[in-house]
Symmetry: C2
Subunit: 392 residues, 2 copies
Amino acid sequence: MNNFEYFAPTKVVFGKGTEKETGRLAKEFGARKVLVHYGTGSVVRSGLLDRVCDSLKEQGLPYILLGGAQPNPRLGLAREGIRICREEGVDFLLAVGGGSVLDSAKCIGYGAANEGDVWDFYCRKRKAEACLPIGCVLTIAATGSEMSDSSVITNEDGMIKRGYSSDYGRCRFAVMNPELTYTLPDWQTMSGCTDILMHTMERYFTKTPDTMLMDGMSEALMRTVIQNAKILHENPTDYDARAQVMWAGSLAHNGLLGCGNETDWASHQLEHELSGMFDVTHGAGLAAVWPSWARYVLSEKPARFAQFAVNVMGVTGDCTDPVKTALEGIREMERFFHEIGMPVNIHELGYDLTDEQIKELAYKCSFFGTRTIGGFKVLDQEDMVRIYEAAR
Amino acid sequence: MNNFEYFAPTKVVFGKGTEKETGRLAKEFGARKVLVHYGTGSVVRSGLLDRVCDSLKEQGLPYILLGGAQPNPRLGLAREGIRICREEGVDFLLAVGGGSVLDSAKCIGYGAANEGDVWDFYCRKRKAEACLPIGCVLTIAATGSEMSDSSVITNEDGMIKRGYSSDYGRCRFAVMNPELTYTLPDWQTMSGCTDILMHTMERYFTKTPDTMLMDGMSEALMRTVIQNAKILHENPTDYDARAQVMWAGSLAHNGLLGCGNETDWASHQLEHELSGMFDVTHGAGLAAVWPSWARYVLSEKPARFAQFAVNVMGVTGDCTDPVKTALEGIREMERFFHEIGMPVNIHELGYDLTDEQIKELAYKCSFFGTRTIGGFKVLDQEDMVRIYEAAR
């Protein structure tokens, strides 16, 4: 086990009816003037936004509304939010929505609490030294942004998608009512389940030895998400399945399961370029990339993939041939992705990449040839080309 | 899954050499004048106290030393600490030691930050509204006090042991270097491992349905502690086994694994009276009580104990007879306790209880006949008598 730091201070308020607690929580965490940030119509149509605003009113908290955050949230809207915060003296951000709204709120929080251009942080030119405090009411289990330190923003200028991570951006509180996720389209729910699995797998596929506790907890989480995703694919209003998946989503990405592991993140970075270029749903993009990544890197440590196959995918292990067991685990994962309607390659995702596009994706993903990605196996620009080719 | 709140804001800094970070962390969390609280000689003899104080000096942080905290920490010393904090203007507590030192520090923190008598909180007469901020350097994996909201104090007047839980008392940071636990006597290490297991089991034995994620994570943690306790019983300086157990100790009691479960805590409460009367080691006391509790309550939900038997203790399940499987799991746990030198009844713990003593224990444990204990099965004073009788 490697040395590590773990810091996940978000207060989670989980269960039926918890959105009514939002105003009380905002006040508890010091809010005096709130920017309520949300996405497109569904939180308005469902009446959730009204219920949340009513709970702010009950606490006497003034607020300003800013809707319009979209999947793969844009820098332009965040800049608008930053302007409003500065002009109106907003001191607390309340995100009502999913990962995109939350990531947009984090970007607003960094921009409003620091001088200069917020895009600098996402380009790694400098580090944020503060963030406006953020609370959230979560409406989809997926990105784990409600407890994580990370946010991802797309700059419309070149459609460049970049992530930034900082403890300053972690939510002060997260309200999670699984019932709020009942009305999600199946595609969104299944993409969310895939994202949750992948947050765990990016940490689980490691060459760090002696990780028994984190291995076992990660495997339990993955088995839980796989079983409950299948239930939700058939019955989207199964409360307990929604609850298991929603809590798993937070634990998959709050930093817990990577403690002491060298982590990977190559699949995420390969996918970020895809969804920057084509605006695909993040989870589905991950499903389209992962099998090809897995087969490309497997030989680094076949035993790790064999452990995954046996402990997560229920494959009967063949001790004499870990590679065979490992490959069967990857095939089982592909069968699961198909069972819940996810793609296992980029063609199934709906795009047929040209050679030129693959070169462009790898060029962007390698930060114009300046970085490698991956921890399980370090991948350079040429490796990225090969994985995109295998995945197309 | 029930509704729940989860809040574990402690920043964990884990691994080799991390005690050198103590001063930096204290400063990061706002310390200006520190009370360094510790126990008896070992942290002095090992040089740990000097290294920690050096890191405070490097940050220019003035500090006052208060040693003398003992196992089952006493109210008297905490009152002395409260007096010092008030007179000297201490604004940060640094606990260097194990659960007893930490619990003593929490008691000091509550007393120094609130008016009136600190014992009121432990008697449940009123609730603390603040606590001095606390950091810790942990020297034993056991109580989980480094991330938990709980503390346990013994009032010398009547030798009454009482716990108090509040989010205010959670540590701001916890420095955890597994190497610091190498020199612990085997008895302490194994009692610690037992305590960690029991923190998990108190949450795991629940009748709440649909707890798949927490079940799987708890089972992984218990398997990890059982396997690594056996390793440490043979080789106390195995770093990775120390590390697995230490991290498990924090996760077993930071609130995570009970999320959405109705919890139990009867074994802990039965043991508190034992160690109040006899000053036994907490973990060993739990091992002496648990098997009798388990057999007494098993019929409430045999399937739960059968699941434990199969998924944690490696028993081959007999689907036609869950009670048989359940009982075999309890016997396997007793075999494990014996293998690591723990008792499985109060006689083996070193005490032969008289009928009068059993009556007194049950009388105190029921708060003089005014409360029941337990969630898996609610136990009244008469039930407590029967479990103590079975355990003697």
